[in-house]
């Protein structure tokens, strides 16, 4: 129960009301599968994944003055808001670093525009390169798996793991919520939730 928060505690921790919570649920700002119903000694209660919901509520609260609830819903949904972006725009608005863009173009060739799923690939590549934990040849492997699994990422909420053991590294893409157990010498270098990446990217684009 450590990673769950009851509805009552959530309302108090986030200082919101029942009405707000129900309105956000109606507007699809909070995904249906976050509402976890459990029987307790006081009867049925609803719980939420603690980190996710607190993060989400905080985000809604800070953004709701600037964006309408519908715009927020579009941001949180896994489907793209923008269908494509021209390459110059990406450079001009500094959405990703020059190096990442170059790597991408080296691998896939020149394109005048980037579709949303390509943008996402680019964005993930860039964030991992920026951490300094991934080298360029690993970046190529990442590009390959993201490209191959583009449909999976689009259709299901997925997670990306980057793991290294004794200098050998590999990537795993799995549907959320994943439970991965690794042996002791293995190093989990990065763990990304694709949905969160999509959200961040959307914020950057808009």
């Amino acid at each position: 129960m450590d990673n769950l928060i009851s509805k009552k505690d959530l309302l108090e921790a986030a200082n919101i009301s029942y009405g707000q919570l129900y309105r956000w649920k109606r507007k699809n700002l909070i995904p249906e599968n976050w509402f976890i119903r459990k029987s307790t000694f006081t009867g049925q209660e609803t719980f939420f994944p603690r980190e996710d919901i607190l993060h989400r509520v905080e985000k809604i609260k800070t953004l709701k003055d600037d964006l309408s609830l519908d715009e927020l819903a579009a941001m949180f949904s896994p489907s793209p808001t923008v269908t494509s972006l021209p390459t110059e725009e990406i450079i001009k608005r500094n959405i990703v670093s020059h190096t990442s863009l170059e790597m991408y173009i080296n691998h896939f060739g020149e394109t005048p525009t980037f579709s949303f799923s390509h943008l996402l690939t680019l964005y993930v590549l860039d964030s991992l390169l920026q951490t300094g934990e991934m080298n360029r040849s690993e970046g190529m492997d990442l590009l390959r798996i993201l490209e191959e699994q583009a449909n999976t990422i689009k259709e299901t909420e997925s997670e990306l793991f980057f793991i290294r053991k004794m200098g050998v590294s590999f990537f795993i893409i799995t549907p959320e919520p994943a439970k991965l157990f690794v042996e002791s010498q293995t190093k989990m270098i990065a763990h990304y939730r694709m949905n969160q990446c999509i959200e961040e990217l959307k914020l950057k684009i808009n």
């Binding site: 009301s17 029942y18 009405g19 109606r26 009867g43």
Partner: protein, 261 residues
């Protein structure tokens, strides 16, 4: 739709037609339509059976119609009976007769004066019930008004919920901003007469959980009621009340436990 909008289907005896794009589809006898249809106007005065999906501006069912697929309409009025096996999407839906939908119902204005039964979710901006409604899943709306009889097996979630009780109303969970449940004040002679024959003490709402910012309840049976300002009126049986700002209890209300949070 303009380019082929010249063609019409009009069946006055009994006949079959194939799908396609039409301006007007009109059935006065009995008809069977094979395939998907797209049209401006779909009107059935007799009986019809559509084996496909329908996209229409305006649908009017005065007789009876069975749609095997999805139905997407701007405006729809059901005076007779309609059965839809798929989903129904309609901006302005008015059910005066009877209808049953196996999929989800989405729209802006959903008005039921007759009877409707829906297996999937219902979501709209305004849901107004004066007849009888059964929803097997959830119901979501910005405003939910009921003067009739409803049963919702899932969650009723609406910005404002206004219920005037008539016979037995039921929802598993209710959540929203303002929730008001009152006994019908209307005391026209006719209603009194009906009530005399049915039963006199059956106006009641049953729910497991009711949560909202401002809650006013009468004749409600619930396990838990949670909210900011709560009034528990006459005829209520509530096992537990949790409130934040204020709680008012009627002397004719039965409340098990109360807790200020």
């Amino acid at each position: 739709m303009e380019k082929t909008a010249e063609r019409n289907i009009s069946i006055s005896g009994s006949g079959t037609a194939s799908g396609g794009e039409y301006h007007e589809v009109k059935v006065n006898g009995s008809a069977k339509i094979h395939g998907d249809i797209q049209c401006e106007k779909f009107k059935c005065n007799g009986s019809s059976h559509v084996e496909g999906n329908v996209i229409a501006e305006n649908v009017k069912i005065n007789g009876s119609t069975h749609f095997e697929g999805n139905l997407d309409a701007k405006e729809m009025t059901i005076n007779g009976s309609a059965d839809i096996d798929g989903n129904l999407h309609c901006n302005e839906l008015k059910v005066q007769g009877s209808s049953s939908v196996k999929g989800h119902v989405t729209g802006k204005e959903i008005i039921v004066r007759g009877s409707a039964s829906i297996k999937g979710n219902v979501s709209g901006e305004e849901v107004d019930i004066k007849g009888q409604v059964k929803i097997k899943s959830d119901c979501e709306a910005e405003s939910f008004n009921a003067r009739g009889n409803f049963k919702i097996n899932g969650l009723l979630n609406a910005g404002s919920i206004d219920i005037e009780l008539l016979r037995h109303c039921e929802a598993k969970e209710i959540g929203g901003e303002t929730i008001s449940v009152k006994k019908t004040i209307d005391s026209s002679g006719f209603k009194k007469l009906i009530k005399f024959f049915i039963s006199q003490h059956s106006d009641q709402l049953t729910a497991e959980v009711i949560e909202g910012d401002h809650i006013y309840l009468e004749h409600t049976h619930a396990k838990v009621v949670r909210g900011n300002t709560i009034t528990i009126g006459p005829g209520c049986h509530v096992e537990k009340v949790e409130y934040k700002e204020s709680l008012e209890l009627d002397e004719n209300a039965k409340v098990g436990a109360q807790e200020k949070i």
